[in-house]
Symmetry: C2
Subunit: 457 residues, 2 copies
Amino acid sequence: MSEPAPPTTEPSLDEIVALCKRRGFIFPSSEIYGGVGSTYDYGHYGVLLKNHVKAEWWRAMLAERDDIVALDSAIIQHPKVWEASGHLAGFTDPMVDCKTCKLRFRADQLEDSQCGRKPSKRPGEGPDCELTEAREFNLMFETSVGPVRDSASVAYLRPETAQGIFINFKNVLQFARKKPPFGIAQIGKSFRNEITTGNFIFRTREFEQMEMEFFVPPAEAERWHRHWMDERMRWYTELGIRPDHLRLREHDTDELSHYSSATSDIEYEFPMGFSELEGIANRGDFDLRQHAEHSGEKLEYFDQQSGERYVPYVIEPAAGVDRAVLAFLVDAYDTEEVEGRRRTVLRLHPQLAPVKVAVLPLVSKEGMPERAREVFDSLRRRIAAEYDEGGSIGKRYRRQDEIGTPWGVTVDGQTMADGTVTLRDRDSLEQVRVDAGELGELLAARLEEPWISPKAG
Amino acid sequence: MSEPAPPTTEPSLDEIVALCKRRGFIFPSSEIYGGVGSTYDYGHYGVLLKNHVKAEWWRAMLAERDDIVALDSAIIQHPKVWEASGHLAGFTDPMVDCKTCKLRFRADQLEDSQCGRKPSKRPGEGPDCELTEAREFNLMFETSVGPVRDSASVAYLRPETAQGIFINFKNVLQFARKKPPFGIAQIGKSFRNEITTGNFIFRTREFEQMEMEFFVPPAEAERWHRHWMDERMRWYTELGIRPDHLRLREHDTDELSHYSSATSDIEYEFPMGFSELEGIANRGDFDLRQHAEHSGEKLEYFDQQSGERYVPYVIEPAAGVDRAVLAFLVDAYDTEEVEGRRRTVLRLHPQLAPVKVAVLPLVSKEGMPERAREVFDSLRRRIAAEYDEGGSIGKRYRRQDEIGTPWGVTVDGQTMADGTVTLRDRDSLEQVRVDAGELGELLAARLEEPWISPKAG
């Protein structure tokens, strides 16, 4: 956990939340039943944005390298996994109860909590506060598998995807014919019964992770740790995050998780200050040794060339999908005055934008809708396109700006005469006339070009 | 549930399971701890295949139509959702216990069960059997949210993704500017504490669904029900499933779920017989009415043009990702005699194949590996490619055949002289010489062509 930095002049979290709701990116879950604390559903553009974030991660892990394979392990695994990993004994928060107001607090966050009866005071300082001793509360969600609920049927929802990778280390060695250094990458949901959630989708009980465990010879661990810090920083900046909004922060010794010998967080300057976006840990041989001990299986690598046998060290870049989505939204959010009007625009990297091109007839008559639909149909097979004919052209552009559509194509009177359309750029607002038949090729090429956020300038 | 048809001469489930393990598609979860019943992890090629199946579903739902939007709702929703949906009261199986052997059986499947002491008998027929009365056992996984475990903290893992769609009906009406007929599509995990699991990934407790709820004016429900049966059948056959392995089976009245007025299953001829691949239900207005009643929110549509106000009917094509993966694997599995040797080949649709092209140097010398890597690097940005130089060329081809790679490119002596490579077709085994520089264009075009399984003939 990092200390929040002072707020910036960037968008507030409220502005982001409002845009997400207004445009159907993300909204509170189970809202018709009054909602569930810190649980969100992704709407249409939110799903598309999130899918693009995940696709870019897969691309960086699989398509651009040869040393990583994919995995998708189960959410409900053998309970022994959590015994071996240390989660059953150690994945806890210390909690205290107030017997008077019946509220429960994290013992290590009393300073930042409010007394249930006198919110100006902190717990323990209110006149009637009666706090219990702190007791450890496990953050794993518990459930029961099978028809009988007893100690033998207890199971947990995974609190991280990483362990599913460690327990498959041997399978991958055997079937994917890999040898260290190599990695196993996974995207999937994890669950933590957090007491303190909040900051929109920054910390929720149900969340999606993108984790990769990179197995290396112990002597090379430090070098690979550095490599993955660089690679992951590059991933965010190449997808448009402004470098001055990112920082790499090394954990102090007393912050380190039980499994880690060194961790650096990539922090992003969220509206609530610099906070963890991704952790890059050197987990050493902790996990493989633990699982070897608890399972009785040998989890090691025998190098036939050198005759050496060793337990690989693990470098882990662990990112949150939802946090990445939030960072991309915050970084892209912009407002500006255009011709006397305020416009809100998401300056998303074109690869991340939910819709790449909007096709709009200038007016809903004179054959323009029909012609615009033809243009739309010619584009949609190559590139994610949206057709919109409802309302004034200005209103439709504002809508596309707010969902971050990088290009707008307008079919107007001149289109009917010479077959050209206007192509509008979301960021520069420049409009050029282009032959409708050349649009597909042109936009597909632009989509592949490197991109720098215009907010960076 | 359908009556299993007699087995065919097609691959046995064991052969599929063995291939999946051998090539790292799918293997038992938590294997180093002895496994967890009916839980599987997807390995590298399994993840790629599954991702392609999901991408094709999104393509059919979103890119090829204008009337469906995407959603990704939470797994742990408000408990009232399951009260309203009827799952809390009615999503149960009747169970009986045997007090003698301590086994538990589904009361409606006693005929097919074995007595715990005398397996040749069924429960109740063994000499010492003492069966209890049947009692209802809810199939939802229960957990507890927050630090205190009491009745107020009880929550459930969703048993279907559909309800997350119904409770967001109003949000989508409002923000996605849709009006009936329109659909909301979602892919995500669901959980059912099934007593009887089995047949590999056909029935597991944790599984992934692709569900779409299509909201229509009541008078149009039957027409849309037919439309979606046709569309979904087409989806499977266009992705290579042989039409004679599919059938549409209408549910009898006594089979219908509590919410459904008519359901037809798309059944696939799995190794264990024709079984449900996807259900296409007319859910009527059951769900929206239930949630309106329980939440107090109006869940209806007001048609401004006709002045009509109504609760839409819902047509639901509900598919299982894992079942679809299994069907594609079974349908693609083939063995044949080639030059006196048996080869196993997955004749997957190229769009579904985990790897589209393998690039292989004929031998690991004479500059061929370097030249092959150049060819590989030129291809990988356009198309999922794999480079392999280990072992004999025959062994490498057998490996690619087993993972279903449609094209193989070999760099040989002639490549070094004239820049051509051999392009091998997985199915016909035809080999042609092609200029290496033209491969990318050629394969990208082939990938877009319609495809018919060579097993269909």
